[in-house]
Subunit: 367 residues, 2 copies
């Protein structure tokens, strides 16, 4: 079903984060937004592994609620997927990758990518892929190590072990999201990379490793795919069987327990765009340090991120501010505070606020 | 036509300011907004001179475009006006007051009030009115002197002359809006009040004084009222005749040139609410110094003015900010900068931006 010589991208699109509220909503999470480019983050992820000389069509694993979005956004960039596997419920990454691996040829190499990350240096990414290929063909499970250049407490860390080849190390160990003190220690010590959640391995070796480390996940995934429904490229695993899979990440369920795990430490301009601050850092800014999108009129504005998806925004005399406006919601905060967006989100969740789910569709007529 | 013993309020509602954009628009200027109270500033002005033992029904002079607004807002508070005189074009205050004076009995005392000012101590205002009554019955023209407690350059100043009675002085002279240095000098010198644009005089004496100082205005006003059309309480001066009146303020055309002009210096919590900063100063603030209206969720927010007329606003970790959100426009600036709103307004005027004229009417449906 999948070309043996080519790498099959497996694009994980299960996320429904609201950290970029009010733009991201459960109906249109971050990966489907045009945040850093005219293309959405999902589309950019697909484009990153599109070279037909090297990559097969992607297998997308997505929330069933986003089936149309996935299909439309693929069509918009002219990409025909191998399959769009639609999860009835989210069970984290280990089961999601398992159903993708079951849909692929056991010998196929799978490049697993979250759909909501940015990589500004795709060439470096491609080089890291090529450095890893001989190992994953030999049965190693591989991950990509993001250069840890700050004591970030939001990522898992990978301690690099012995060098296997240029640009490839064995993984010494995975460590969980550290506290700030530990993160500073890792940075000081050196030899650590962030775990960016991007993986390369053959479908068969992944399934073998999963069978050894978390067989209940494999059994549920297999049963759900045996009972699948197919409609064109859309694949619906049996919902009851899929829902029976333990919810676990590939890191915990497989990578941390497998024997031969390699890491390619790579500086590729990676970002998970996990906050509005991160987006401001990624954005092309004007001569005043502003990243401005939409109908915005700025006067004496510096180092600010201002986006409007609807209303005209007039900003006067402000610095270091983040302001995001949509037709039904406005977020305002200083730069450096965007980790606190979750407080607003939690409050709105407590009220079942409509702006978390979807955009109001408004018919605008002049009064 | 007007009860001789009672004072007739003349409410000037010609303004179409946009300094409180995006709430104030040319279709709904400041006086028709609910800024400081559940009632609009126009309604508060009417209520201020409503005591039937002392006041007759008001004569309202308004822009013809606002006829329905005026009538609706009067009906909402159950006030029946003597007349609503609808100007076809704005010609400043001298002609507006002239048509009101012509509609009134010559012996009627007119209390002329802009409709977009706030007076937080109406009792002090009432006392100042009573102190002036004997003088205006005797033919004086009177004005109310606002306590000048800052070197404001946006108001005209009145230099007080000799004391005529408790709470009443002769006016020594009117002086135009000063520069900052001169304003500081006035404050230091003492003896000055701000000219708040509120006046008391008999209709006949005003018309007499106007005839002496600017007869062209009186002639045009008289001709426009002779050729008026009446529809219920609505009075339409002849548009061509009215438009022929020179555009001039009562200050320049009459008060500065009249012989017997009195001032009642009064501390009555007056504000012309000329900016968002002024509104924040007037507003009831919560324990964090915030004035918040509408669907706003604030976290670690201090000393800020946040109003929403539509979208939900989430504000996180901000201080001293002004944010005004409507369905089609958002204004954001630090406190103390609201004099710069005009820069945004000028830019939007240059584009004939729809948000200056009227609100978009939106039909909201869940997507």
């Amino acid at each position: 079903m999948v070309d043996r010589r080519r790498i099959t991208p497996v694009i994980l699109s299960g996320g429904s984060g609201t950290r970029l509220w009010p733009l991201s909503r459960s109906s249109t999470p971050k990966q489907f937004l045009r945040l850093t480019d005219k293309r959405t983050m999902f589309q950019l992820t697909v484009e990153r592994a599109r070279d037909p000389g090297r990559f097969a069509g992607p297998i997308v694993v997505a929330n069933a609620a986003h089936a149309d979005l996935v299909e439309d956004q693929l069509a918009e960039i002219g990409v025909r997927p191998e399959a769009i596997i639609l999860e009835p419920v989210g069970r984290n990454t280990a089961p999601a990758i398992a159903v993708a691996a079951l849909a692929a040829d056991p010998a196929a190499l799978l490049l697993v990518m979250p759909s909501d990350h940015v990589i500004t240096d795709p060439e470096a990414f491609r080089e890291a892929i090529e450095a890893l290929v001989p190992f994953v063909e030999d049965g190693w499970l591989a991950t990509f190590g993001i250069e840890a250049d700050a004591p970030h407490t939001g990522y898992g860390y990978i301690r690099r072990g012995r060098r296997l080849a240029p640009g490839v190390n064995a993984v010494d160990r995975f460590v969980e999201k550290p506290d700030h003190k530990t993160a500073i220690q890792y940075l000081h010590e050196g030899g650590y990379s962030w775990n960016g959640g991007i993986f390369l391995f053959s479908a068969g070796y992944y399934l073998d490793a999963l069978e050894r480390s978390d067989p209940a996940i494999l059994a549920a995934a297999r049963q759900s795919m045996d009972g699948r429904l197919e409609e064109g490229v859309r694949v619906f695993p049996n919902p009851r069987a899929f829902a029976a899979a333990p919810s676990n990440s590939i890191d915990y369920a497989v990578m941390e327990r497998a024997d031969r795990v390699a890491v390619a430490p790579v500086a590729m301009g990676w970002s998970d765009v996990g906050s509005w601050d991160a987006l401001h850092e990624l954005a092309d800014t004007d001569e005043n340090g502003n990243a401005i999108e939409g109908e915005v009129r700025a006067f004496d504005v510096n180092n600010s991120l201002i986006r409007s998806e609807g209303p005209v925004v007039a900003a006067i005399g402000i610095s270091n501010l983040i302001l995001i406006a949509t037709d039904d919601a406005v977020l305002v905060m200083p730069r450096g505070q965007s980790q606190h967006v979750k407080r607003a989100i939690e409050a709105l969740k407590g009220e079942n606020h409509a702006t978390l789910d979807s955009f109001s569709r408004r018919v605008v007529t002049s009064a």
